[in-house]
């Protein structure tokens, strides 16, 4: 559906995006992950034909962004970082205007406006002036604007930024409900959002892609060995620790801050070993209370930080050389 090959975008002096390539197939939800200024927005702007690429080939639904921009634009719904709304218009007027811009036939416009309002849950504010809407509603109107012509591809630039947690959850649900019909690319720097909504993640740092993978694979990446969180009551921390270290397959035990009267540890297993059953048995046999035992996967956050950090280390290394 979307094909990016060797995309480079240079501004006057600095390179915003450097030789990135990725593909998105039909129906996928792809999360674009990166710090501020990593090149997410630039990439999206190239995809939507707002900016031309400096080098490389970008095509959407088989149409090149430079050669057939109108065809690409017809097939894309785009929600920029700030929703492109006119504060002086009411919601219906605004969506009607957008519907006409997107080339929807005149006798279809009213129906499409109603549908988009329905899907984005803005029907109750249809006749309100957009300038008077809250940020959350404005964002939803922005989303309604993006889906009004039912485009096969949706590009959403930080769709949940600036929303409160409740609104963020609603926005995520909304996006999830759009999946299936649309191929979606969304950018964010909120990692949990990617975990919730996306099937695939593109991590981008300083204009370069550092990882393209599914969320599950990213989690699995560094999980050859198991990490277990364990909490025990009814014993002093020192003796619990000693006992845990003796369990076969345990590589390392690190104590954590627990509540009063509890001993809490992070236990790292050796590679390819299942340590949880052994740990549980050891605690119970010693006559202590096992209050918590769970495997912790490395959070996406850590993976992300590690990936982007190692990248910047490389850079500083290059500079010192």
């Amino acid at each position: 559906m979307i094909k990016v090959e060797g995309l480079t975008k240079r501004y006057a002096r600095h390179v915003a995006v450097n030789n990135i390539s990725f593909e998105v197939s039909k129906g996928e939800i792809v999360g674009f992950l990166g710090k501020n200024g990593a090149g997410k927005t630039t990439t999206m702007r190239v995809l939507t034909c707002f900016l031309p690429p400096s080098a490389g080939a970008v095509s959407v639904a088989g149409f090149d962004v430079l050669e057939h921009p109108l065809e690409v634009k017809k097939r894309i719904g785009y929600l920029p970082e700030t929703p492109p709304v006119y504060p002086e218009m009411d919601v219906t007027t605004y969506l009607t205007f957008v519907a006409k811009l997107k080339g929807i036939a005149s006798n279809d416009v009213a129906k499409r406006v109603d549908e988009a309002c329905e899907r984005c849950a803005v029907t109750n504010v249809k006749n309100t002036i957009i300038g008077k809407l809250s940020k959350g509603y404005r964002q939803r109107v922005g989303l309604a604007q993006a889906i009004i012509h039912n485009p096969p591809v949706l590009i959403l630039d930080e769709p949940t930024s600036g929303l409160d947690p409740e609104q963020q959850r609603e926005a995520r649900q909304l996006i999830a409900s759009l999946a299936g019909d649309h191929t979606i690319i969304l950018s964010t720097h909120i990692l949990s959002e990617v975990e919730h909504s996306c099937s695939k993640v593109v991590i981008i740092n300083a204009g370069e892609i550092v990882a393209v993978d599914s969320v599950a694979n990213l989690h699995g990446r560094r999980q050859a060995s198991e990490t277990v969180l364990i909490e025990v009551t009814g014993a002093d921390s020192y003796s619990v620790r000693q006992r845990l270290e003796q369990v076969s397959g345990v590589a390392r035990v690190v104590s954590r801050d627990g509540r009063d009267g509890t001993a809490s540890f992070e236990v790292f297993g050796m590679a390819e070993r299942e340590v949880r059953p052994e740990l549980a048995r050891a605690v119970v046999q010693a006559g202590w209370n096992l209050t918590e035992l769970r495997a912790v996967g490395e959070s996406l956050e850590e993976i992300f930080l590690e990936l982007t950090k190692s990248e910047s280390k490389k850079e500083t290394g290059a500079v010192t050389q």
């Binding site: 700030t82 504060p87 002086e88 006409k100 811009l101």
Partner: protein, 255 residues
């Protein structure tokens, strides 16, 4: 065509959804009304005087009232038209809605023509206020309608030129005040360029004077439509809109 209509309609609505349209129409009505009153009063006084001195001469309403009025209207337009054009692109750039327009399946030319025509619509509404005053003359007197028609044609062409220049300048900035002030200054300069020819007869001076937008208006107010003036206005409008399209395109490359 449909897209041009969509953009044009949106622009017109934007003027009338804010106080801008009513303010401009009100201010223009006020200023033009005063000019009208003064010109009519002057005409009446002159008429009475010539009767009293016994040297009655036929006095033309067209020559005494309408022609100077339309000339004044063109100068008032010079001040007010930049206020119409300044928001066209500057506002979209500031609010980010330019991204919506430029990622929609419409061409740059459709955006530009739509916006320019919308601004023209606003300008015509403003001019319509002056037509109320002129209509009074027709009610109480019998002026020749032809110079009035050509005068309005001239006003529309001159307004279209200033609006096109303003549209171009509006694409270069996010700041409406900068857009308005630059448009006003440049149009003022284009107006007074004609002075050059009064103290210098060289060829280049004549060429510069030719670029003055107001000297081309003058014949229209006297009922004269000359091809060279029409060509001047049409080519100026085209040039300015063409520069607008280049500037809009460069937004993509400069970002």
């Amino acid at each position: 065509m449909r897209n041009i209509g969509t953009i044009c309609g949106k622009e017109l609505k934007a003027y009338f959804a804010s106080p801008v349209a009513y303010l401009l129409m009100g201010l223009f009505g006020l200023v033009f009304g005063f000019f009208f009153y003064s010109a009519a009063q002057f005409f009446v006084n002159a008429g009475v005087q010539s009767q009293m001195s016994g040297q009655e001469q036929p006095m033309s309403v067209n020559e005494w009232v309408i022609a100077p009025l339309l000339n004044n209207a063109s100068v008032v337009g010079l001040f007010l038209i930049p206020l119409i054009s300044m928001r066209l692109f500057a506002e979209e750039k500031r609010s980010g809605t330019i991204e919506l327009l430029m990622t929609s399946p419409i061409s740059d030319w459709e955006i530009i023509l739509g916006k320019w025509l919308g601004a023209m619509g606003m300008y015509l509404c403003m001019l319509a206020i002056s037509a109320l005053d002129i209509a009074l003359l027709f009610a109480w007197s019998h002026p020749d309608w032809r110079p009035v028609a050509t005068g309005y044609l001239g006003l529309i062409l001159q307004g279209g030129t200033i609006l096109a220049i303003g549209t171009f300048i509006s694409t270069t900035t996010k700041n409406q005040i900068i857009a308005g002030a630059s448009t006003f200054s440049i149009c003022l300069l284009l107006w007074v360029l004609s002075w050059v020819s009064s103290y210098n007869q060289a060829g280049w001076a004549q060429a510069i004077a030719y670029c003055s937008i107001l000297t081309h208006f003058e014949p229209f107010s006297r009922g004269i439509v000359e091809t060279k003036d029409l060509i001047f206005y049409f080519s100026a409008i085209f040039l300015a809109l063409f520069m607008t399209s280049r500037s809009l395109d460069s937004l993509r490359w400069r970002a």
